[in-house]
Every structure is written in structure tokens, then in C-alpha cells.
């Protein structure tokens, strides 16, 4: 039953087919049986999870209607290790925080607990979320469940691999530029990057503060919508959260795509793109056309410049955010930073240093304005944009060694929308001949999560009988 979606698991719990303890045990057993191959977790919290599951079972039996105001009651969820969890070790996959036990919960974690979720543990990631491979984790790389000689992507690689391998019912990730969508693409799961400010960053170990967006990684679009309902909203503890209304995302997914205007940009089918990825995305676009959507070719700002903007902004903000780690209040001192963190801190420090601020950071923020305006113009013509999530399939383990901008270059197709603070979702669209997943992204304007989710759901619904959907990782 660990392979269930949230929706199915909720039904089973309510119908007394199984208990949350059964469900949690099934997930913990799958973790135990597959962790040796995957390394998706930094910390598994068996006892705490079972205790939460027992409490959930009690509540469900005494008060079944509790599931209406606790939408995740009894559902086992994995959380990326950069979310502060009260009383549970939180490392961001860096040895600097090897023994750090936060005395408080991130807002996202608090909301999950309030919604009744059972926390299975903390998932592996690129250290400090610096990367797109999960290979820079100080606790060893996570492996792709579809082929353990391949990388899961990153930085939320542990969360994506864990969902794909059915170690959990759903997981939480965070994206600065690509860190939810890209590993979801490489692992064949659904990953939603909400609009910047839709979900609170409070208690998330900060990477690029003007970009960081927490979001769900799930087996279906419906589950993604359900988690977003729980996580979204204004938070007094994060001044950048939006006061905009939280919609009932999961209840409004049925809108047909007839006459929907979908923008396609040839610049996103970049030189060197994997031919099977290109073919699958084009076939998915045809599918939308057959469902009555209107496809329009649009011209977008060259994504390659987004690599430059993103590298400068993110590394500058990284150098500032990581300045606080001095080993005095918690964690260890700065000698424990590894190569990738040092590389990013050094570049960021250089870019922000006296005499260079305007040339680098400020100039990148000006180009950011250009990118925002470019998307605004595009969304006057089309409702959403469809593109490949990653130009490649999952890459082999070891691919990042000594590549100084691996993450930034791998994420070229998700960086422009992240820089502009837009929302986007990765959904699986098939497999390569080599049995690796292929993902497609749907990008919408800021705060258009409802539209993006419903378009993604329509694709899922209209391809649900395709044979590739029945595949399971052979672990």
C-alpha cells in the first residue's frame, strides 16, 4: 500500500481498509528494503512516525470527520532535509549541520503537522541545495530508482527518488531554480514549483532568498494540488509571502483544455537537447492539440542568459546566507564546507565585493526585469507555456565531478521562470528506450497554480491508460 497516492490512501484510511500505522509501516519497510540502493534519506524517524500514525488512527476512529479539516491525517510524507524540524536532525546534507537539532518547525512543517501528516524522515539533497544531482551531498549521492547507475537530479533528489520508489506517499522539496522540477523529471514524478511567495520560506535553510520556493513532489497532479492547499498562504514569519487568496486547488482540476492557448518556444528546444526528450514533449503537445488546445509558437528571451543571471543572483545570495554558519550557536565551523559550497560562496563574495556589486549583482537584477517583462508579454498572447523540463535524461552517477557550473547549466530550461518568480510543474510524459523517465514542464504566470495544475491534470487524465504509466522501478 506504500505505492498509493494520497487520494487513495485517504480513501483506504476512511473505509477502514488499513490504518495509518499499517501505511506507515509499509513505507518504513520499503525504505528499509531499498535504502541500501537509493540513499534517499539522511534521517529516518521510525519511532516518531509510528507514534504520529497511532495518534492519527485514534483520531480517525473517534472522529472520522477530522479528515475534512486535517486533509493529510495519517498520510506518511518525507521532507527534504533543509526544512527545520523541531527535535529532528536537520543537516541540509552538509556536515556543517551534522548534529543540528532545530528547536522550532519551519512553517511548511508546522502546516503539514497541523494537517495530520506523518513525517517519515528527512530526505537527501545536494549539500545546501547547491546542485542538480544530489551528488554533492555530504552523506553520499542518492541514486535514481529507475536505474541506480544514474543520478536522480537535484537538489531535491532524495524527495523525488523516494516518491518514485514508493518509500513514501508524497514528499516535500524546495526549488531555487529547478530543484523540484528537474529531479521530478529525472525520477518520473510530479513536482510543483509554486510562485515565489505562495509558500512560506520560514525555517527553510536559505539558499537564494529572492528565489527559494518550497513545494510538493507527488505521484499525481491531484496530490500536488492537495498539498499546495495545505502549504500555501501568507505567513507573518516570511514577509515575502503573498496575501492572495488560497484556492481549493484540488477541487477545480476538471476544466477542459479546449481553446486553451499553449505557447511553445523553439528556444526551449535548445541545441544538444536529447532527441527522445524532444520527441516526447512534441508528442505531448500534439496530445493537447487533439484535446482542443490552440498551440502558438512564441519567441522568448534566450534561456542561456538566464544561466548567467541565475548564477550571479543565486551565488551572491548564497554567500550572504551562508555567512551565518560560524559554529557558535549551532553546527560546526566553516572548515566543514565542501567544494561546491566554497565555490559558490567565493563567487558570490566576489560578485558582491566593493567595486563589483553594480557590474554583477545589480546588472543581473536588471536583466531579471527584462526576463519578467518578456514573460509578461508572452502571457498576453498565451495562457501557459509548455517546454521540456530538462534538456537531458538522467545522467550517469559521477557526471558532476569537477564541473564548476554543473547545476546552473543543467537547469537552463527552468531558470528563466524561477528568476521571474513564476509557477511551474513537471509531469511525466513517458520513458526513453533506455527506460529513463522523461518530464515536461507547464509554466504559468505568477499565482496561476490553479490553471497550471488543471492543465497538468487534464494531461494525466487523458493519458492514464498509456502502457508506460504501469511501469514500476525494478528495485
Amino acid at each position: 500500500m506504500n505505492n498509493l497516492t494520497i487520494k487513495k490512501a485517504k480513501e483506504g484510511l476512511l473505509d477502514n481498509k488499513f490504518s495509518s500505522v499499517d501505511l506507515t509501516r509499509a513505507c518504513l519497510l520499503q525504505i528499509k528494503n531499498t535504502e541500501g540502493k537509493l540513499n534517499a534519506f539522511v534521517t529516518v524517524t521510525d519511532d516518531k512516525a509510528l507514534e504520529q500514525a497511532r495518534k492519527a488512527d485514534q483520531q480517525i476512529s473517534h472522529e472520522p470527520q477530522a479528515t475534512s479539516y486535517k486533509p493529510l491525517l495519517g498520510i506518511p510524507i518525507a521532507i527534504k532535509d533543509n526544512f527545520s524540524t523541531k527535535g529532528i536532525r536537520t543537516t541540509a546534507s552538509s556536515k556543517v549541520l551534522d548534529d543540528y537539532i532545530p528547536p522550532f518547525d519551519a512553517t511548511v512543517v508546522k502546516k503539514l503537522k497541523d494537517a495530520g501528516a506523518v513525517i517519515l524522515g528527512k530526505t537527501n539533497m545536494d549539500a545546501w541545495a547547491h546542485g542538480s544531482s544530489t551528488e554533492t551531498s555530504d552523506y553520499g549521492a542518492t541514486k535514481n530508482p529507475w536505474n541506480t547507475n544514474y543520478l536522480p537530479g537535484g537538489s531535491s533528489g532524495g524527495s523525488a527518488a523516494s516518491v518514485a520508489a514508493n518509500q513514501c506517499i508524497a514528499a516535500i522539496g524546495s526549488e531555487t531554480a529547478g530543484s523540484i522540477r528537474q529531479p521530478s523529471s529525472w525520477c518520473g514524478v510530479v513536482g510543483l514549483k509554486p510562485t515565489y511567495g505562495r509558500v512560506s520560506r520560514y525555517g527553510v535553510i536559505a539558499m537564494g532568498s529572492s528565489l527559494d520556493s518550497p513545494g510538493p513532489i507527488t505521484k499525481t497532479v491531484e496530490d500536488s494540488a492537495l498539498i499546495l492547499e495545505v502549504l500555501a498562504g501568507k505567513d507573518e514569519l516570511d514577509a515575502t509571502t503573498s496575501p492572495k487568496e488560497i484556492l481549493q486547488y484540488s477541487k477545480n482540476l476538471d476544466k477542459s483544455v479546449k481553446d486553451l492557448k499553449i505557447g511553445i518556444s523553439s528556444q526551449y528546444f535548445i541545441k544538444g537537447i536529447d532527441k527522445e526528450v524532444e520527441g516526447s514533449i512534441k508528442a505531448a503537445i500534439k496530445k493537447f492539440e487533439s484535446l482542443g488546445a490552440k498551440i502558438e509558437e512564441i519567441k522568448l528571451f534566450e534561456p542561456k542568459y538566464a544561466i548567467d543571471v541565475y548564477t550571479i543572483i543565486q551565488r551572491s545570495e548564497v554567500s550572504s546566507n551562508l555567512a551565518r554558519y560560524d559554529g557558535i550557536r549551532y553546527g560546526f565551523d566553516r572548515t566543514k564546507f565542501q567544494e561546491e559550497a566554497k565555490r559558490r560562496i567565493m563567487f558570490g563574495t566576489y560578485a558582491l565585493s566593493s567595486g563589483y556589486y553594480d557590474q554583477y549583482y545589480n546588472n543581473a537584477q536588471r536583466v531579471r526585469t527584462v526576463i519578467i517583462k518578456d514573460f509578461e508579454k508572452a502571457f498576453e498572447k498565451v495562457d501557459i507555456i509548455i517546454a521540456p523540463t530538462s534538456p537531458s535524461l538522467a545522467l550517469p552517477v559521477g557526471s558532476t565531478k569537477d564541473v564548476s557550473m554543473f547545476g546552473e547549466i543543467a537547469d537552463v530550461l527552468v531558470e528563466p521562470s524561477s528568476i521571474a518568480g513564476l509557477c511551474g510543474i513537471n509531469i511525466p510524459v513517458g520513458f526513453s528506450k533506455s527506460h529513463l523517465p522523461i518530464g515536461m514542464q507547464i509554466i504559468g504566470p505568477q499565482f496561476s497554480e490553479q490553471l497550471v495544475l488543471s492543465v497538468a491534470h487534464q494531461y494525466e487524465l487523458n493519458t492514464q491508460n498509456e502502457s508506460w504509466r504501469k511501469r514500476e522501478p525494478g528495485l
Binding site: P103, M346, F347, R366, T369, G421
Partner: protein, 95 residues
């Protein structure tokens, strides 16, 4: 272009070994060359964006609220004294 790697490391409060300095210097120059591509974009008369959703002047009432207890706040400190964080002296010659 030449970068003063030791100066940057000092600003970043990072201790680097000589071989790390050599490698990082090379990679830093590589990255700077790469991002200099941005100079091809005309950004004259364009305002920089730092807050993408346009929120401005978000404030809240300045009220004292329950917070972490002293014990909780100190719970991860490796070095403490009488309920305080213990740190190295800032002024070395202070008597």
C-alpha cells in the same frame, strides 16, 4: 582578469589550502568569463528587480511575543557559560 583569491577568501571567512586556492581561482575565472556574456544585453534605463511579486513595505506590529526559551536557544551551542553563548574574544588586547 586577475582575482585576488586570498582577499576574497578573507571576506568570505573561508580557510583555503594552497591547492584549493589554485583550483578555485581557475574555476572562478571560468565562471566570470561565462557570466560576462550578460554584457551583451542592453540594460540601460532598466530598473533592477529584487522582489518579483512586487510586495513593498511589509510590516507587522512591533509586539513582544513568546519565543524560544533560553535553554532551547542554547540547545545546539557547543560552548556555553552561565546560560550564554561562549565565543572567542573579539578584542585581543582588552584587559
Amino acid at each position: 582578469m586577475k582575482i585576488n583569491i586570498s582577499h576574497i577568501a578573507k571576506l568570505a571567512n573561508l580557510f583555503l589550502l594552497p591547492n584549493e586556492k589554485t583550483k578555485l581561482e581557475m574555476q572562478l575565472e571560468e565562471t566570470i568569463d561565462y557570466v560576462n556574456e550578460l554584457n551583451q544585453i542592453d540594460t540601460k534605463n532598466i530598473e533592477p528587480t529584487s522582489q518579483v511579486t512586487g510586495l513593498e513595505n511589509i510590516t507587522r506590529d512591533d509586539l513582544a511575543k513568546p519565543s524560544l526559551s533560553q535553554d532551547d536557544a542554547l540547545s545546539n551551542a557547543k560552548s556555553k557559560h552561565n546560560g550564554f553563548f561562549k565565543v572567542n574574544a573579539v578584542f585581543k588586547d582588552y584587559e
